[in-house]
């Protein structure tokens, strides 16, 4: 009975971590689906979500829900600015240029934040947390909240993509950018909104992560954000379902790893898993190879 309890407890931890990863991973996949580029800066947008929250509540003590909305709005804005000034000029450039720029942007964001805050910070608690115990399991309102909000946002995104004209345009662009304007939808608008939505999700993830694991650091973008990227690639980058699948898979793997091995092994296991999966499924678990016309 004890080990079953332990298993359930870890399962909840994995769900929590996985849902946060999923929010970030979706941002990576959305952008890749629409522009075929890896937005390396996304992990650092996630990190800023946490730091924006820190800054916000230090200036103006706001309730949780308001903080979440403000943070999501801020990161959404940031995401669109990065797209407008760093990525859009490179739309016609070789793909390598865009990836390099994204990497550069992410590192600039990280290192500027490091400049302002060289040390890790503690995220203040924005809510009163109660922990429920039943049947030997403890689950806190925070965990429920995180999982609940993440799942809600994912459902919202799914609705957005499958039931709205924007969503259709987004999917159309990933197939053929040139014809989309002919359908009466300006491609740039769709792309901007995609970045905004992805960044908003990333910001939300940052805030939630800060609440769940209250010590945040500017290097979080690489330490955590990139693992969500790994999740997206494992699932099949560009594929929404893949992102979510990869995220929960990775959450589970990480939680298992930490129970069996010292926590310093986390990165090793995660990136080795990525490599192994890519060797056997070069486009991720749910991904498809791009068709190349000769």
């Amino acid at each position: 009975m004890g080990s079953f309890n332990y298993f359930c407890q870890q399962a909840i931890n994995a769900l929590q971590l996985g849902s946060i990863y999923a929010l970030i991973a979706l941002g990576y996949s959305m952008v890749y689906g629409v522009l075929s580029m890896i937005n390396f800066a996304h992990g650092d947008v996630f990190m800023l979500g946490a730091f924006f929250c820190l800054l916000l509540v230090a200036l103006v003590p706001v309730p949780f829900w308001l903080a979440l909305i403000i943070v999501m709005g801020s990161t959404a804005l940031l995401g669109t600015l990065i797209e407008r000034f760093a990525y859009r000029p490179l739309r016609k450039a070789p793909r390598v240029s865009a990836i390099i720029t994204a990497l550069g942007c992410g590192l600039v964001i990280q290192n500027v934040t490091l400049g302002f805050s060289p040390y890790a910070r503690r995220m203040p608690s924005l809510l009163d947390i109660t922990t429920y115990q039943f049947g030997g399991l403890s689950i806190s309102t925070l965990q429920i909240l995180i999982i609940g909000i993440s799942l809600s946002l994912m459902v919202l995104l799914d609705y957005l993509i499958r039931r709205t004209p924007f969503g259709m345009a987004m999917r159309a662009i990933s197939f053929d950018r040139a014809t989309v304007p002919l359908l009466g939808v300006p491609a740039n608008t769709v792309i901007t909104i995609t970045f905004a939505v992805g960044a908003a999700l990333g910001g939300a993830a940052g805030l939630l992560y800060g609440l769940a694991y209250p010590v945040i650091s500017p290097t979080m973008g690489i330490a955590v954000g990139w693992k969500a990227f790994v999740a997206a690639v494992i699932g099949g980058i560009g594929n929404m379902r893949g992102a979510v699948l990869g995220a929960f898979l990775l959450g589970g793997v990480e939680v298992i790893t930490v129970t069996l091995l010292p926590s310093t092994y986390r990165d090793l296991v995660v990136y080795s898993l990525l490599l192994v999966i890519l060797v056997f499924k070069p486009y991720g678990l749910l991904g498809k190879p791009p068709l190349q016309k000769v």
Partner: protein, 321 residues
């Protein structure tokens, strides 16, 4: 006939100068340090340029090869043969470092057969993280605290010598059928295959050579700093190398020298900025991509760096001899 001997003579003179210079007192310790760093950076830059410049890929994992070379060489001099005389053990350490790194280049090379572009970038990133994380977890390599007490074997003559060898090796590879094949892969892999280029051996040649020299640079680095730990070889280190390549010039030997020179000097000048100096390099990367993606000397080279048969005046025809 006299011309044939000019280049080796000049190079040897350079070696002699590098050996004598420190003793003359003209060059203080700090300047020596900078010059050695410049040589190490030049080796890193030209080796990365082989894959990122000539072959047109995007390898982010180069610091991983450097790390393998650094650790392999340091383990040799610190753990295996401590106290051995430098003239005996150092060349062995350098070659070991290079070879270990070169060997690691093989699997990455094999993976590049089927994967290109974004996915190869991801694979090289994973490689970097695995090396870094692996080193952090192996007690034999000192874990996260790293290796201390590495003997200070790296001096100006050694750095100069390795730098010359690296540039010579890469130059020879580039101006051979393998180098042309590598460039052809960059331009159009399908057409290259259709024109008989064995893309597989070209890719392996590129990755293994590139990794080997990165390992050599790592060995020099370890024996200059006398202390290495896994966080010396992280994504920021890789970014430093990327800036060198894309600033100096892709697919260019002269560009590699230039890029290494600028970044080395910049790193020294920016020291007083403290943590803020780490903003400059990635910012430069972004600006480079936006305004001058092939760098200062992209795809071109100074004549004196090319083999004699390749020095083409253009567009006037050469007079018959």
């Amino acid at each position: 006939m006299k011309n044939r001997l000019l280049t080796p003579a000049l190079l040897l003179a350079g070696l002699a100068i590098s050996a004598i210079l420190p003793a003359t007192g003209l060059v203080n310790d700090y300047l020596q340090f900078v010059l050695v760093s410049l040589a190490i950076n030049a080796i890193l830059c030209v080796s990365l340029n082989l894959v990122n410049g000539w072959m047109g890929e995007f390898s982010v994992g180069h610091a991983g090869f450097m790390a393998l070379g650094a650790y392999a060489s340091a383990l040799l001099t610190v753990r295996l043969f401590p106290g051995a005389p430098s003239w005996l053990i150092f060349p062995l350490a350098i070659v070991t470092g290079g070879s270990v790194a070169g060997l690691a280049g093989l699997p990455v090379g094999f993976l590049s057969f089927k994967t290109r572009g974004d996915y190869l970038a991801i694979i090289t990133l994973a490689f970097l993280m695995i090396v870094k994380s692996g080193l952090e977890n192996i007690p034999f390599t000192g874990g996260p605290r790293g290796l201390l007490g590495i003997p200070h074997f790296t001096n100006l003559p050694w750095a100069y010598f390795c730098c010359v060898v690296a540039f010579w090796g890469v130059r020879n590879l580039v101006y051979s059928k393998f180098g042309r094949g590598i460039s052809a892969i960059r331009e159009d892999e399908v057409a290259a295959e259709s024109m008989g280029v064995d893309t597989r051996s070209a890719k392996l040649a590129a990755f293994v050579t590139s990794a080997f020299f990165a390992g050599v640079a790592g060995a020099l680095f370890a024996h200059q700093l006398q202390f290495i730990n896994p966080s010396s070889f992280d994504i920021l280190k890789s970014t430093e190398m990327l800036v060198m390549v894309y600033l100096g010039g892709v697919a260019s030997l002269g560009g590699s020298l230039l890029g290494a020179g600028v970044v080395t000097v910049l790193t020294q000048i920016l020291q007083p900025l403290g943590t803020w100096r780490m903003v400059v390099l990635p910012l430069m990367l972004v600006l480079l991509m936006l305004f001058r993606p092939s760098g200062i000397m992209g795809y071109s080279d100074w004549s004196w760096l090319k083999p004699r048969g390749e020095r083409n005046p253009k567009p006037k025809p050469e007079p018959k001899q």
